[in-house]
C-alpha cells in the first residue's frame, strides 16, 4: 500500500484487472462492505492508518486485483486481538464466497477458527496436515501452539 495516498486512492490504484476463469472482480463498493472501517477512513492517508486498518487496506488492494488465490502472510502480526478476529472473520467471508485463501499464521488459535485445512510446518517441512477438526486434536499442535501443559 502507498502511505502517501488516501485509502480511496489506494483502492482505485492501477489498471482495472481482467476478469477470467476463477477470478472475481471486487468493485470498490464490495471492499467497503467487507471493511466498513475503510469506508469511514476513505479520505485518510495510508500513512495515518492504524496497523489493523493497514492490513485491511492491504487485503482490499489485493482483492481489487481480482486474485485467483489470496496469499496472506501473518496478517495478525502486531494487531490487537479484537482486530485479529475481525480481520480473520472477514477473510472467512471471502472464503465462503468462493475465494481460495492461503493463510500463513503463527497465531494458530485464531487461524484455526477460520480455516478448513491446516498444514503444520516445521523447519520448512510439512509435518502434519488435515482438516481443521482433526488437526485441532493433534498433539503436536496442542503442545506447540494451543498452550498444552506449559503454555
Amino acid at each position: 500500500m502507498f502511505l502517501g495516498l488516501t485509502v480511496e486512492e489506494n483502492l482505485r490504484d492501477g489498471a482495472p484487472p481482467a476478469a477470467g476463469p476463477g477470478r472475481r472482480i471486487y468493485p470498490m463498493q464490495d471492499v467497503y462492505e467487507l471493511f466498513p472501517r475503510l469506508h469511514e477512513r476513505r479520505m485518510t492517508q495510508g500513512g495515518s492508518l492504524s496497523g489493523g486498518e493497514r492490513q485491511m487496506l492491504a487485503v482490499g488492494r489485493a482483492l481489487r486485483r481480482a486474485p485467483k488465490v489470496l496469499l496472506l502472510d501473518e496478517p495478525s502480526i502486531g494487531l490487537a486481538p479484537r482486530m485479529v478476529s475481525l480481520l480473520l472473520q472477514t477473510v472467512r467471508k471471502l472464503v465462503d464466497a468462493g475465494l481460495t485463501v492461503l493463510l500463513v499464521e503463527q497465531n494458530v488459535r485464531a487461524a484455526m477458527e477460520v480455516t478448513d485445512v491446516v498444514h503444520l510446518l516445521e523447519r520448512g517441512k510439512v509435518i502434519a496436515s488435515g482438516a481443521v477438526d482433526t488437526m485441532r486434536d493433534d498433539p503436536r499442535i496442542i503442545e506447540t501452539y494451543l498452550g498444552g501443559s506449559h503454555g
Partner: protein
C-alpha cells in the same frame, strides 16, 4: 531607500526562483532525481525562444510556446538517456550524469547560438506599472501570476487526477506501482517532460529581465538548488514558499546590507536551516502537499 519597492522586487524575484525550481521539485519529489543539468536547460529554453523569434519573426508569446515544446522534448531525451539509472534509482550516478547532460547542452548551445550575450526581447518588459512610489514591469506581473497558476495547477494535477496519483505512487514505491498495472516509464516520461517544459517556460518569463549567455546555466542552478532544498526536498508548496522567501531575503539583503554578498548570505541561510531543522528537509511521502 524605498523598502516597499525592495519588498516588491523580492516578491518578483522570489516568484522567478519558485517558477524556475518547480520542475526540479517535481523531479526530485517524484523521481528522487537531483538534476544538475537544470540550469543549462533553463539557458536552452531562453535561447530557443530568442532564436525562434529571430528566425521566424514570430511574436514573443509564440516563442514562449516553442520553447516549452523544445523543453519538454529535452526532458524526454534526458529520460531516454537516463532511463536505466532512473528505474534503478541509482541516485549518485544520476546526479553525475545530469551534470554531464548539462555540460552537453551548454556545449551544443555554444556552438548553435554563439558566445555573445543576447537579449530575449519581451514587449512586456518595456511596459511598467506605477503605484505611488512603487513600480514593476508588466513582464514581472505576468511572471508572478504565471508562477501562481503553475503551482496551483501542479498541486491540482498531483492531488486530483489519475496521472497525479500515478506520480505520487511512483514517488513512493515504483515496483509496487508497476504491480498495479501502471506503465511507470510513461509516468517518468510525463515527469521529465514536465521538468523540461517548466524550466523552459520559466526561462522565457525570467530571462527578458537580463541579457542571456550560453554560460549562464550554472548561476541559475545554484540558486534553484537552494530553493529546492530549503523547500523541503521535492515539496511542491514548500518550494513555492522557499522561492518567495529566498527572493525577499536576497532583495532585502542586497538593499540593506550588500548586493555583493547576497549569494553567500543565501548559502549561510541554507546551512543554518540544514543544521537547525534537518528534519524539515527530508523527502516525505507527501510531496504533493
Amino acid at each position: 531607500m524605498n523598502v516597499l519597492q525592495q519588498v516588491v522586487n523580492g516578491i518578483i524575484i522570489g516568484h522567478a526562483y519558485a517558477l524556475v525550481a518547480v520542475g526540479w521539485t517535481m523531479l526530485l519529489g517524484a523521481a528522487r532525481l537531483v538534476n544538475f543539468g537544470h540550469g543549462q536547460m533553463y539557458m536552452v529554453g531562453a535561447f530557443v525562444a530568442w532564436w525562434f523569434m529571430r528566425m521566424t519573426g514570430q511574436p514573443y508569446p509564440v516563442a514562449v510556446l516553442a520553447a516549452i515544446l523544445v523543453g519538454a522534448l529535452i526532458g524526454a531525451v534526458m529520460l531516454r538517456l537516463l532511463m536505466r539509472l532512473t528505474l534503478s534509482r541509482d541516485l549518485v550516478s544520476l546526479m553525475i550524469a545530469t551534470l554531464g547532460f548539462g555540460q552537453m547542452l551548454e556545449g551544443a548551445a555554444g556552438l548553435a547560438f554563439g558566445p555573445k550575450p543576447q537579449t530575449l526581447a519581451s514587449p512586456f518588459q518595456d511596459m511598467s506599472l506605477h503605484f505611488g512610489a512603487i513600480w514593476f514591469t508588466v513582464q514581472d506581473a505576468i511572471l508572478v501570476v504565471a508562477t501562481i497558476i503553475v503551482f496551483l495547477a501542479l498541486r491540482y494535477v498531483l492531488n486530483a487526477t489519475r496521472f497525479g496519483t500515478s506520480v505520487r505512487m511512483v514517488a513512493e514505491d515504483p515496483p509496487l506501482t508497476r504491480l498495479g498495472g501502471i506503465d511507470i516509464t510513461r509516468v517518468y516520461m510525463g515527469i521529465f517532460a514536465f521538468e523540461g517544459a517548466a524550466v523552459a517556460f520559466a526561462a522565457t518569463l525570467v530571462a527578458p529581465r537580463t541579457p542571456i549567455l550560453t554560460s549562464m546555466g550554472f548561476d541559475q542552478v545554484v540558486m534553484t538548488f537552494v530553493v529546492v532544498v530549503l523547500g523541503g526536498i521535492g515539496s511542491v508548496v514548500g518550494s513555492y514558499v522557499a522561492g518567495v522567501s529566498v527572493g525577499l531575503f536576497t532583495a532585502l539583503f542586497g538593499a540593506l546590507v550588500s548586493p555583493a554578498y547576497t549569494t553567500a548570505a543565501v548559502f549561510a541561510l541554507l546551512i543554518a536551516v540544514m543544521v537547525l531543522r534537518p528534519g524539515q528537509l527530508a523527502a516525505s511521502a507527501n510531496f504533493a502537499r
